[in-house]
């Protein structure tokens, strides 16, 4: 892709309804996929797809936001905006992955978690938080790939993984550019400016050390869906092989994986710190913390 695409142009590409979605990746990359439904608490959320299958020779658990290719499909799948049931189904499948030692692969593509009366009543916030907690210590390799929109906490709730990959024209942000423009500019038409200012692109996130690899799109994904999906599959396989090598010796390997996962997120943040030691009555800060301030 030309480097000259603006952040906003990439936002529009990330949202293009013709772009391959989770179900397309599952169809091409996961053989014998069996979709598993329901959170065993309240319902089944069509905005979040999950199940088990075989990915290039190993059994895996797959979860992913499910958008549609047209309005009718999108209405059926709530535009890829999960309700608490979706996150609880994902949690159940994460635990399933851990129980059977299957790696977890998450496809991220959502405008965000659904804002709604029912979602609030049934605990949207705690459903997301419990997934963040579970993912922090899930004892199997975990991979997330942002294939379109990485919308805020609703994306994060399935993507706190050992490796986060992003397609070149995918975006990941704490709020939609429209919401940011409304809040900070009081003008939704400033969304393109907001997109640039919020630094939402894959290249930005890679530069910040938040994502581990950007998967190139020589042409936009929707123009070459099959090739794009295979490129994503190759990247996933490569990272998975690395993680599998780390955990091949059992519990010690898993402990090392979890320690690395903790540090991956522990480091994220930028601040300035006054270094006057008298300001730290309990002595120096934990050693791994201080060197992160840049």
């Amino acid at each position: 892709m030309p480097e000259t695409l603006s952040a906003w142009e990439r936002v529009l590409l990330a949202r293009n309804p013709a772009r391959p979605h989770t179900q397309d990746y599952v169809a091409d990359l996961i053989s014998g996929f069996v979709e598993l439904h329901g959170d065993r608490r309240f319902g089944d959320d069509p905005a979040l797809l999950g199940g088990i299958g075989t990915f290039r020779g190993r059994a895996v658990v797959v979860v992913g936001h499910r958008k549609g290719a047209n309005t009718q499909e999108n209405l059926a799948h709530n535009f890829g905006m999960p309700r608490p049931e979706g996150y609880r189904k994902a949690l159940r499948l994460m635990q399933h992955a851990e129980k059977f030692g299957m790696p977890l692969i998450a496809f991220v593509d959502t405008p965000g978690a659904e804002p709604g009366i029912g979602s609030e009543e049934r605990g949207q916030a705690v459903a997301i938080a419990e997934n963040l907690l579970a993912l922090a210590s899930l004892r199997v390799p975990t991979l997330a790939v942002v294939i379109g929109e990485g919308g805020s906490g609703g994306a994060l709730a399935i993507s706190v993984a050992d490796r986060i990959l992003m397609l070149e024209n995918a975006i990941y942000a704490v709020a939609s550019p429209e919401a940011c423009a409304t809040i900070l500019w009081k003008d939704v038409s400033k969304a393109p400016e907001a997109a640039a200012t919020m630094r939402v692109t894959a290249a930005d996130l890679y530069g910040f050390g938040i994502v581990d690899e950007v998967i190139p799109e020589p042409v936009p994904a929707h123009e070459q869906p099959t090739q794009t999906i295979q490129r994503v599959g190759d990247a996933l396989e490569r990272h998975l092989a690395e993680l599998e090598a780390l955990v091949h010796d059992g519990d010690a390997g898993i402990d090392a994986l979890l320690a690395a996962r903790y540090q991956k997120y522990r480091r994220i943040g930028r601040w300035v710190e006054e270094t006057d030691p008298t300001r730290h009555p309990n002595g120096p800060v934990p050693s791994h913390a201080a060197d992160q301030a840049r």
């Binding site: 978690a113 979602s119 609030e120 705690v126 993912l135 942000a173 940011c180 938040i210």
Partner: protein
Amino acid sequence: MRELFRRQPRFTSEPQSEDSPVVPDDLWVKCPRCRELTYSREFERELRVCPRCNHHFRLTAAQRIAMLTDPGSFVEWDAGLEAADPLGFAAGGESYPDKVATAKRKSGTREALVTGSARLDGRPLALAVAEFGFMGASMGSVFGEKLVRAIERAIEQELPLVTVSSSGGARMQESPFSLMQMAKTTAALARLGEARLPHIAVLVDPCYGGVTASYTTVADVIIAEPGAMIGFAGPRVIEQITRQKLPEGFQTAEFLLEHGMIDLIAPRRSLRAKIATLLDHYALARQRPARRPAVAAASAQEAPDA
């Protein structure tokens, strides 16, 4: 009164906040909800709760710390951390560093979270208190880092953790860094849990967004103040998107209790005693565990003489 505010900036409420007490003169406080006047000494004695209608006024972090800890026991951690500007963010002619400078001046704190160790009627604890007056206590890098350091110190020093949270949500000016603080703080709490140390979360008005969808709602005990507004998405956003009328009392602490989302509602005057009682139970369990905690077993294996 102005003079007093200037001398003790950390004890002022945001003057322009609609929730701040309207003070016709030095002696009386007018409740924004029931419009009743309360003698200001009585108001302070009631911990800034309207004695007529039970409206809980918002507190600054310093007021909250004073309310929950023994005098002189609070030792602040990591006070020197301040926001950086990783995105080079500016909106509407105002840069992020300008906004931070204004927030510092207005709130009297250097960031949106104050952490430290303290004692509560003699009981040691780690405490993290959000300062809503600092950019709506939005969770940026400093908020996350200070909280994680506090959790890590709690683990090292075997302290229970009490968090008092109110927040408007994400720190838009640090977009991806802000988002990732949700993962970072919750991951640290997973470790606190492995160490079998309790986390008591107190949710106070208003508490929304990333803060409710991360470290607060995975606490061992969740306490809310009466009438506090708590939720994931803000009520106006929900109303706009769903075009539905919100139910009576939607997203109040009482609504959350009814829906099973929090453990209890504690009026401000009983909050301190409630936390003290809970801490005693956990301390007792730690002295006489009914079973060997998993982590104790694991660390025994690591000990050279084990």
